[in-house]
């Protein structure tokens, strides 16, 4: 297989461990005076966007940052709970850059680009150094050193954390760095602004059209380069752990302007989320993977068992992950854990009112911690109750905010009864195709963080999203962007009355008019929910050819109906959340079709993409490396018409193998 000539991944020559070092030492530089006249637009203010914007402004570029929320600090990175990986080997447990690299490629089921993952692993340690220097309050040991815990798919402890609020603390660090630049005038903030198109002039990205969400006015902004750090597209499923505002619009507009979309069918279904409680449900809430350090997952051994969890004796419980995967136990990767939960529930072993849940039980480890504490405090012959109390305090310190959140949502106390959990859409590994420089197929247009496809293959390991977002923003783009901008030092800022700006703005205006003028009878949410149902049932945790073909037709029909019958209330020249939603759902209705097309064409199972037709006799994902060891990068010709371009994945450092988490 050869890669499509349209895809040049620009992977540096040389041995894997020297590629990035050599690249950094030889990339073109730009003198400080020239940097001051180069303008960069950053769309999105999460970990990737805020860290990129802050770093580029520090270097001297003129930076503009756009976010749809009322403050950059609200970006959904803030909700990441469990932690961030780094190959520091502080625990002296055999970790190394190579091991993090290997775990990530293997965890991604051998569908990621080795060179990018290796670079990610190399810079992972710098991220922790940078964040600590900013005053990010990571968890610490009594000796004052940083504390670590384990996440799924690995056998070392390399995850740094701040209680169950790691994303919050990292984002506030990046946000502070950004605000420092804003205060100095090096970066300019555009909050409550939504990017609605990319402006392309002579084949290069030269700016964006953004809508001021308060006044409804469209604005034109020039940039020598445009960086999209606009997150993932999990909300195509309607119900997901994403924030309500998360959307694909920025990436999708870029796609329609020529940026290829890679591996759209790779979605991550997170195994531990609070189950759906009713039709009113607007979003799903994650219970961090870190809980699997101390929580054991089980279902009753008897089908349809109606007893309460605490009434089911130990020998009648099936700890199915420990049974099926003895080496990794409860800490198998997310795709494996999710499918195993679905398998048990589908087979009739589910718990709770809906029977679509499994238990996550902390009692055993609570007692273990309690015993350790009792020993530390030299308590002789403590009662069972004393041990439990002591253990509860330990669990509270580690996961208190998560337990509180669980109780608030379900009205059950997880210190007393096991949590009920079920898989939910959480993250999207697919995204805009980027080369080694993180540049899309449109010159000057970059994609960072969850918005790109590059590092996680077909399944992301826990605590690696924060790592990738910050790696891209702090340590990759500041170098790689100068490869492009060094060629732009003679380009004067283009006035926004240029015809390309005028034309693009007119197109955006026309789409808004079209949305406002349908004046149908059904709400935007009605269509979003309908799309979500199709996607979850037919392009969710398990897919098959028949279902995907049906889904494609159903989505086309739904899209037609949307444009005939959607009702967008209010006016366009005011603060109008319904109009914002309508534009985003219209884009999801196009993306959903591409996801199904991608899932249908990939006749194998890998990571989060599980095709029922392709599984081993034990129900594990069966890859087809001979035919599918490639990145599927889709080029949009028109709506419902995409051309497939393949980037061959070459594995030079790591041998392709069937994933094995059992031994």
């Amino acid at each position: 297989m050869a890669s499509s000539p349209k895809l040049n991944s620009r992977i540096p020559e040389g041995p894997m461990e020297h590629k990035w070092t050599k690249y950094r030492s030889t990339v073109h530089l730009i003198n400080p005076a020239n940097k001051r006249s180069l303008e960069v637009i950053v769309v999105g203010s999460g970990l990737a966007g805020a860290s990129a914007a802050a770093s580029l402004a520090e270097m001297g570029y003129k930076v503009k940052v756009f976010c749809f929320q009322d403050s950059p600090r609200r970006a959904h990175s803030i909700a990441a709970q469990g932690g961030i990986n780094a190959a520091k080997n502080y625990q002296n447990d055999g970790d190394s850059v190579y091991r993090l690299f290997y775990d990530t490629v293997k965890g991604g089921d051998y569908r990621s680009r080795e060179a990018n993952v290796h670079r990610l692993s190399e810079v992972s340690g710098n991220i922790i150094d940078q964040c600590v220097a900013q005053g990010v309050p990571f968890a610490r040991e009594y000796g004052g050193t940083l504390s670590n815990r384990s996440f799924g798919g690995v056998l070392v402890q390399r995850t740094f954390y701040a209680a169950g609020q790691t994303g919050q603390q990292l984002l506030l660090g990046a946000y502070s760095a950004l605000q420092r630049q804003v205060g100095m005038g090096a970066a300019k903030l555009y909050t409550r602004h939504e990017m609605l198109d990319v402006v392309v002039i002579d084949g290069k990205a030269r700016g964006i059209i953004a809508r001021d969400l308060i006044t409804g006015k469209l604005e034109r902004h020039f940039g020598h380069a445009v960086i999209l750090a606009s997150g993932g597209y999990g909300n195509v499923f309607y119900l997901s752990t994403n924030a309500m505002g998360c959307n694909v619009t920025a990436a999708w507009k870029a796609h329609k302007k020529g940026a290829f979309f890679a591996n759209p069918c790779y979605t991550q279904i997170h195994p531990t989320c609070i189950p759906v409680s009713g039709d009113h449900q607007s979003k799903l809430t994650l219970m961090s993977e870190s809980l699997r350090n101390d929580g054991r997952i089980w279902v009753p051994k008897k089908q349809g068992d109606t007893r309460k969890a605490n009434e089911i004796p130990e020998e009648e419980r099936d700890y199915y992950l420990e049974r099926r995967y003895p080496a990794f136990g409860n800490l198998v990767p997310r795709d494996v854990a999710s499918r195993a939960a679905k398998e048990r529930c589908d087979a009739g072993y589910g718990v709770g009112a809906s029977k679509m849940a499994v238990y996550l039980d902390f009692s055993a480890n609570m007692m273990r911690y309690g015993q350790i504490e009792a020993n530390k405090q030299s308590l002789h012959n403590p009662t069972k109750e004393q041990i439990r109390e002591l253990g509860m305090a330990v669990v509270k310190e580690k996961y208190g905010n998560l337990f509180d959140m669980y109780k608030q949502i379900t009205n059950e106390n997880p210190y007393e009864v096991p949590m009920r959990i079920y898989p939910a859409v959480h993250y999207t590994m697919g995204g805009l195709w980027v080369d080694y420089n993180l540049m899309t197929t449109v010159p000057g247009l970059y994609a960072l963080g969850e918005a790109n496809f590059s590092d996680h293959g077909a399944n992301r390991l826990g605590a690696s999203a924060l790592m990738q977002g910050l790696a891209d923003g702090y340590f990759v783009i500041p170098y790689t962007i100068s490869d492009y901008l060094s060629g732009e030092i003679r380009t004067k800022a283009i006035a926004t009355d240029n015809e390309a700006f005028v034309k693009t703005e007119a197109e955006v205006q026309e789409r808004i008019n079209k949305l406002m003028n349908v004046k149908g009878t059904k709400s935007v949410d009605h269509f979003h929910k309908a799309l979500g149902k199709i996607m979850w049932n037919k392009c969710g945790m398990a897919r098959n050819a028949q279902g995907l073909k049906e889904a494609i037709e159903e989505i086309k029909q739904l899209r037609l109906e949307f444009w005939k019958n959607v009702r967008v209330t209010g006016e366009q020249n005011e603060f109008n959340p319904e109009l914002e939603k309508a534009g985003r759902v219209a884009d999801f209705l196009e993306l959903g079709e591409l996801m199904c097309i991608d899932a249908l064409h990939r006749n194998e199972s890998c990571g989060g993409h599980f095709r029922e037709e392709y599984q081993t006799t034990d129900g594990e994902a069966q890859r087809d490396d001979d035919n599918f060891a490639y990145v599927a990068a889709w080029e949009m010709k028109e709506i419902s018409n995409w051309e497939l371009n393949k980037e061959e994945l070459k594995f030079e450092s790591i041998k392709l193998a069937q994933r094995n988490y059992a031994s």
Binding site: H76, N126, I128, G144, V182, P577
Partner: protein
């Protein structure tokens, strides 16, 4: 679940934009499930308003898991409603009972102008952070993380201050419209850590000056902010900031 679906009367503040005159509007919401969140109840109401061809109620929200700080409803006279330690999005309807009348207003403060209905503009907080709420360390300048040893207790205290979500409930509940709890949380986090020492004095002076410029009121230590803070940010932070401020001002005069 513990109780049945309920019917409620909502009195909701409607205001077209920041300059318009606002008023309360009354809505009946029926068959509210106790498992719904407060915002999901608003979703259901809005869905109905849209079907009736009316303008849905605008409100801010995003993560719906209590961490982004975007949701901001003033419910029955309390920011984020009647339950301690939760944001509006995590407030569930089981905290109300059948037949209740619930009054919902936006955050009210001179420094937080209304955008529309229940949504307000909190950009003042961003400007306060830009005035000093950071450590001036450029990307790439840092030494190995474990070279900075920090006693666990201090790291924990700094974390507790850093847990602030910037929602503005403290300002909304304060009769003076003071932002002291928000500002002091950031000042404290960085004053407690070795990384924050170099800029300690300029930080507190800069942030307080910006706070005053934004039009927030003065603190008279009523303690309402601590009571209503969904993240339990402690009043101790304000005491610490006052000490920091006095020390920094004195040094500046020397």
């Amino acid at each position: 679940m513990s109780h049945e679906n309920m019917n409620l009367t909502l009195k909701v503040w409607r205001q077209k934009n920041k300059d318009a005159k606002g008023n309360f509007e009354t809505h009946q919401v029926k068959e509210v499930s106790p498992d719904m969140s407060f915002l999901e109840m608003f979703d259901v109401l809005n869905e109905r308003l849209i079907t009736e061809g009316k303008d849905p109620i605008a409100f801010d929200h995003d993560c719906r898991e209590g961490i982004c700080g975007m949701c901001s409803m003033f419910i029955d006279g309390r920011p984020h409603g009647p339950v301690k330690g939760v944001t509006t999005c995590q407030l569930h309807m089981r905290s109300f009972k059948d037949g209740d009348t619930v009054v919902v207003e936006p955050w009210r403060s001179a420094a937080f102008p209304v955008v529309k209905d229940l949504a307000v503009n909190r950009s003042a907080f961003d400007r306060i952070i830009a005035a000093g709420g950071f450590v001036s360390v450029n990307t790439g300048n840092s030494k190995d993380a474990n070279n900075i040893l920090i006693p666990k207790d201090e790291a924990d205290d700094a974390f507790n201050a850093a847990a602030c979500i910037g929602c503005g409930a403290c300002v909304a509940t304060c009769k003076n419209g003071s932002a002291m709890l928000f500002v002091s949380a950031k000042v404290s986090q960085l004053a407690l850590l070795p990384q924050g020492q170099v800029e300690r004095e300029n930080r507190v002076l800069g942030m307080v000056a910006q706070m005053d410029e934004e039009g927030f009121g003065t603190c008279t230590v009523t303690g309402a902010c601590e009571v209503e803070c969904p993240k339990g940010i402690s009043l101790e932070n304000i005491a610490r900031m006052n000490r920091e401020y006095v020390a920094a001002s004195a040094k500046k005069k020397d």
